[in-house]
């Protein structure tokens, strides 16, 4: 290195090397550049699904795709319109929604309550947590035939299956939310003389709310998945039944109508959860 070459020892490290110099200049970046990038991103995000549909449509019409299995999007839209006019689609959507809503409530409420209680009780965790953890890995869809046997062909078997799917994510996330609360907040509550009920209301519940919301989100997804299963294996109504029936009659268009309806319900449910989250966790750093 130059240190030894210059013969000046270590002190030479700080001196300028001789010769010409280059300037490394940083110019200001306008705010407009960033805004333009964002606009392009948004346009691409909106355009790409549309482009996908156009390609599908063309491929289906040109015979590249077998339109017995992949009917053109316009064909699906037309089928949807017919099912809407006849009321067949709306009826089945409402029946499925009702089942999911009831099942969701039956699963989420005990999941939330048990998660909160076990969050406080060491003894409760010792008693119940191993049991819950042992049951959890069983695929809920595999229990569906058993539920059909126990609760029959009626509504109850659907509610219970959905409830089972919703219970676990809500329970585990609520429990984790309470257990992960920073100890400082319970000490503040204790110092200010909060009783048990006040503590749950002012510290545990709001503190665990972000995690609870995650549990509810996962629960909604699980509920939609399981209602389709329940209605395919044992129902004479609902979107799952509609898809299964269309398969039996080889009405591929109708199958797609059912799939699109479930997708839209899932999307709307997630948007509603976003709303709910903003209302229940107004303090989150969105």
């Amino acid at each position: 290195m130059t240190v030894s070459e210059s013969g000046l020892g270590v002190s030479a490290l700080g001196t300028h090397p001789p010769g010409a110099s280059n300037l490394l200049v940083t110019e200001a970046a306008g705010e407009r550049a960033a805004a333009t990038t964002r606009r392009i991103e948004r346009a691409v995000a909106l355009l790409s699904p549309f482009l996908f549909l156009v390609v599908w449509e063309l491929a289906s019409r040109a015979g590249v795709l077998d339109d017995r299995f992949f009917p053109a999007p316009t064909t699906i839209v037309q089928a949807s319109w017919e099912h809407l006019r006849s009321g067949y689609l709306i009826d089945n959507v409402l029946i499925s929604l009702r089942r999911v809503a009831i099942g969701f409530t039956v699963g989420a409420v005990p999941g939330l309550a048990l998660g909160l209680v076990l969050g406080f009780s060491r003894l409760g965790r010792a008693a119940l947590l191993p049991l819950v953890q042992a049951v959890y890995p069983i695929p809920k869809s595999a229990v569906a035939p058993l539920l059909l046997l126990i609760f029959g062909f009626g509504e109850a078997s659907k509610w219970v299956l959905v409830a089972l799917g919703v219970f676990f994510p809500v329970f585990f996330n609520t429990l984790a939310g309470v257990l992960n609360l920073d100890k400082i907040y319970s000490e503040v509550a204790q110092n200010f003389g909060a009783n048990r009920f006040q503590f749950v209301r002012t510290v545990a519940l709001p503190g665990a709310m972000p995690m609870i919301m995650t549990g509810l989100r996962l629960g909604v997804g699980m509920g939609l998945l399981l209602i389709a299963v329940a209605e395919i294996i044992g129902a004479d109504s609902g979107l799952g039944y509609m898809i299964y029936n269309a398969w039996q009659l080889f009405q591929v268009d109708t199958m797609y109508v059912g799939l699109v309806a479930i997708a839209i319900i899932g999307l709307v449910a997630q948007l509603l959860m976003n709303r709910l989250e903003r209302a229940l966790v107004p303090w989150a750093q969105h």
């Binding site: 907040y185 204790q190 110092n191 200010f192 003389g193 002012t202 503190g207 303090w283």
Partner: protein, 282 residues
């Protein structure tokens, strides 16, 4: 803490000015490895009514443990603590200001400041007036509807202090409330704390490892030793009140006080560091 007559306590003596008595308090912890660690070893001290007492000492000298015991968040293994209350005093016994960020993230500034009063189920008018008063006094009016994550570190600590004052407890315990703040913010908040405290005349037990802070705020400073935590000495602070944080620092007596405190503490810090080093080697 029960309100029964006690015998043999400094509080039963003729000196009715004593507010808090700590007698031979020891606190030991058992580690997971089964080793017994003595955090506080036979600590005795008294705090006078309306006094601002500060505990200084190296990290690990048990000052926080002592504060937690006094505030009821922890219990001593041996010894006794006593707090003198007026018989007709309906106020809560104490309020703590913690070192860490302790404002509830899910409550607005206003809801945080009113928290203690709401837990005590004070009447609504009282809660509203007290909260507005302390928010105003702490310079938080413009932020009363903000959430803590929207505030700076200094603002958050103001919220915690306003919350403690609004609760209007008999005694205030403060555990390094300004430790995490920058020098400028710290000086401003020290000045505010002095002003607010001088208006209320509350008894305060304060913890810090900043000698400047101790000399600026206190009536009396107790120096503690580490491993195990013991009281080494008690130093009276001679400066008249009300005090001006900045003017105080220019006085010759201030520099003398700091250097005499530092002389007492230097050995202790050295010991504490040697202990730490020994622990690492083990």
């Amino acid at each position: 803490m029960s309100a029964k007559p006690v015998s043999g306590s400094p509080l039963t003596g003729s000196d009715h000015n004593i507010k808090i008595a700590v007698e031979n308090v020891t606190r030991t912890f058992t580690t997971k490895g089964g080793r017994v660690v003595t955090a506080l070893d036979d600590v005795s001290l008294t705090v006078r009514e309306g006094e601002f007492l500060t505990l200084v000492g190296p990290s690990g000298c048990g000052k926080t443990t002592l504060l937690r015991i006094l505030s009821g968040l922890d219990r001593q293994t041996k010894g006794r603590t006593t707090l003198r209350r007026q018989a007709d005093d309906k106020r809560p016994a104490n309020a703590v200001v913690f070192q860490q960020q302790s404002a509830f993230p899910w409550l607005t500034v206003e809801q945080n400041v009113s928290y203690g009063l709401r837990m005590a189920r004070a009447n609504r008018k009282h809660i509203r007036e007290q909260t507005a008063f302390w928010i105003e006094k702490s310079g938080l009016t413009a932020f009363k509807d903000s959430y803590p994550h929207q505030l700076s570190g200094g603002m958050k600590q103001r919220v915690a202090i306003a919350r403690a004052f609004a609760y209007d407890a008999d005694v205030l315990y403060m555990d390094e409330p300004f430790a995490a703040l920058d020098e400028q913010t710290k000086a401003v908040l020290q000045g505010e704390l002095l002003r607010i405290w001088e208006d209320t005349g509350k008894t305060v037990v304060y913890i810090t490892h900043s000698l400047d802070e101790a000399a600026t705020l206190s009536d009396r400073i107790m120096v503690m030793t580490a491993h195990p935590g013991r009281i080494k000495s008690s130093v009276s602070v001679p400066f008249a009140r009300p005090r001006d944080v900045m003017a105080l620092r220019k006085e010759p007596a201030y520099g003398e006080l700091i250097s005499s405190l530092w002389d007492q503490l230097r050995d202790e810090v050295g010991h504490a560091m040697a202990d730490e080093a020994a622990k690492v080697k083990r």
